[in-house]
Symmetry: C2
Subunit: 436 residues, 2 copies
């Protein structure tokens, strides 16, 4: 262990990992750091060959993967996991094929590494260029969805990063086999095994160690519930890319077209209720409440949505459930939606400031002044006019891969593509210039 | 206080400020957040008018500023501050004029807010654009240099951010007057007073509160010593832009031109030794040691540089002081430099991995393969071939203002301009589109 630590950078802020057994994951992290150097120099062709090998290996090892997953499923049932969680955990022949297919999709994405962001030649002849480089080591902490193991590994690999993965304990057997299959494929194309590693075996202490691994881990990505993400954001001393919960709002302005309002609210709630860009709250201008609320409620209810309302909404449609402040603050991720009536755009903006997770908000309006004001003043990653919030998505934006949707303001904001998994470096080429 | 807190966003992660007296700076932070909304919507013309008013007010209030500074200086002398610190703290007529001039320079910089980073129209007609927006509230923690108070206030203002400043207690009287002068100028052009605030009066507890102010402060910038910066990086739960210490290396390859090596090392150390892009360590290929080390040492000594060497360097120039690992790890910021002899480029890269702060490194070589390998493999913010490390600077890069040099990998890396003080937001304009 001393050997491992002594090879670490003196300035890498090797803060002792508080509350973590000494040496718990030091070897893993040091190996990841070493592997990241090889990955950072790997050509696109080699990385794509690794991705192809991983996809093939997943298919070839499907029986082994499904067997390990069956052990997780049976343990999960014993531990009383809900049907929903069991379903998220489950891998079968079709889902393993889908994992492999998702990896092959990453091959088609452009390699961000080496892309020149900007450049110039100074008057003294010095040439500057800012190029994309991998972060180095990407950590991920997520819950019991084994597909995330493969997703993050593939995206990290294509962007030249080593990955250290901490999945949910409920998926431990599945993740162990998935990572071992990935590692075999990496080695087969000449990349280091340690380019993708799991620390699931260390349980909670491993996650804590990962969050404190400054100098080893360059960026940490939490994926999963709002609770998980907030815990990582609060406890991590490693920089975090916060991919976030969405308490998403749609504002129906006084001038909103009725059919457009009904269609967009319905689409934003019903088309896929379990995702972060689904709408949770509809705020209706009081002048449009009588005109819009009944038809919006009717369309939602026809698709099985439980609609709640504040007092003023319930004055329009009497049999709405009661919407509390807790409802307005909750990402239900289900066929549930709350309606509030507001006096004007100011009141809508104030409600959004109070309850929004700054993910995505949309306004339905014919009033372009109000539209521009909404776009300018709402401080969210994605702000929309006359469009469904379901468009707030990397795939819809044309990024081709689901790295996540950042709800923080630093580094990346909104839907993230592969370039958001890179840093940059300035390259300066001179011919002996000194500063005068 | 309850009123203040209840206006905060429910999802703004209002973590209690551990170890901070409740309510210590809540009013300040809430006021900053409110002010940031006005600033975010302010036009370039208004912001530039504010900057001009601030510059004028600084000059007009020079006697008051210098009087307050005299109180700091006298307290500093009583407390035994070193001559160097006293000099950094001192404001006189000339320096106040320089502060005002620096503020006027910021007027000339392009306003990053509203710049379109990228955009596209989707097949369904939805229009996407990613535009620069202010972070919101920028916090700064720095030491006893009152010029930083004015610098950060001006840069934050031009980029549309509110600023909460925590300067060194030794400059408290100066900062109090400077901020009051700035606030009067802000109010005179119709911007909120709370756009620039100081929390110096709360001492250390105020700094701690600022570091824990998630949901109020969007980004925190530490400026000053390596110790200060590392403390903020470690203790802050607010995202930090780490502007960093530079243990900067120059590698003299076997093929390095002697005159170029001497000129660049001399320039990189002597032209301004007290800054982060000055070289601290020169690593010389063993095949060039006899040829290069004597003339490099001679040129450095002629300018009063204390030159240290490892054992092998001292075998070439016997009377070098001994360079320890501590020397190789230290940013001296003085006329001191350490020389090490390495077997090859691999050994130079290993030394850099161990001791570099990942700020700036340069190689002097005629071997283009080695140059490219150095540029690719050295994991620093700025990597150079055949140029002085002193070019690693926002002014030299043409950014026009000294926001700092980031040594972190997230968000911004290397010399930072005004755009690095902004985030982005996606604007989506539709005409009723829903997702199929």
């Amino acid at each position: 262990m001393v050997m491992t630590m002594s090879s670490a950078p003196v300035h890498g802020e090797n803060v002792p990992l508080d509350g973590v057994p000494a040496g718990l994951i030091d070897d893993t992290l040091a190996a990841a750091k070493t592997a990241s150097r090889a990955l950072g120099q790997a050509t696109t062709a080699v990385k794509d060959a690794a991705l192809a090998a991983i996809a093939d290996a997943l298919v070839a090892n499907a029986p082994r993967i499904i067997e390990a997953n069956a052990a997780d499923l049976s343990r999960g049932r014993e531990n009383g996991l809900s049907d929903g969680l069991i379903d998220r955990l489950r891998l079968d022949e079709t889902r393993v094929a889908a994992l492999a297919s998702a990896v092959r999709d990453v091959i088609a994405l452009p390699d961000p590494v080496g892309t020149v962001v900007r450049g110039s030649t100074l008057p003294n002849g010095v040439q500057l260029s800012q190029v994309r480089v991998p972060f180095g080591v990407v950590g991920a902490i997520y819950e019991a969805r084994p597909n995330v193991t493969v997703d993050i590994a593939a995206l990290a690999l294509k962007s030249g990063n080593a990955a250290v993965l901490r999945g949910g304990s409920a998926a431990r057997s599945s993740n162990e086999v998935l990572v071992s299959v990935i590692q075999q494929a990496l080695v087969a194309v000449g990349l280091p095994e340690a380019a993708v590693q799991t620390i699931d075996e260390h349980g909670r202490a491993g996650a804590t160690a990962l969050m404190r691994a400054r100098g080893y881990v360059d960026v940490l990505i939490p994926r999963g519930s709002a609770d998980l993400i907030q815990t990582v954001v609060r406890e991590s001393t490693v920089p975090v890319i916060e991919t976030g919960a969405g308490v998403v709002h749609i504002v129906l302005d006084a001038s909103a077209d009725e059919q457009m309002a009904v269609d967009i609210v319905h689409n934003a709630k019903v088309q896929r209720p379990s995702v972060c860009n689904a709408v949770e709250t509809v705020l209706v201008h009081r002048d449009a409440a009588e005109r819009l609320v009944p038809s919006v409620v009717q369309a939602l209810r026809a698709s099985g949505v439980l609609v709640r309302g504040d007092e003023r909404a319930r004055a329009v449609v009497a049999d709405l459930e009661v919407a509390s402040d807790d409802d307005f603050a909750t990402e239900h991720m289900a066929l549930e939606l709350s309606i509030g009536i507001v006096d004007d755009l100011d009141a809508a903006l104030a409600h959004i400031r109070r309850f929004s997770t700054q993910h995505t908000e949309s306004i339905i309006t014919r009033d372009m002044a109000n539209a521009e004001r909404f776009l300018a003043e709402v401080d969210s990653a994605v702000v929309m006019v006359n469009a469904s919030t379901r468009f707030s998505d990397g795939g819809e934006f044309g990024f081709g891969a689901e790295v996540g949707i950042s709800t923080q303001k630093m580094h990346a904001r909104g839907p993230m593509g592969l370039p958001e998994l890179t840093s940059t470096k300035w390259i300066v080429r001179g011919s002996g210039q000194v500063r005068g």
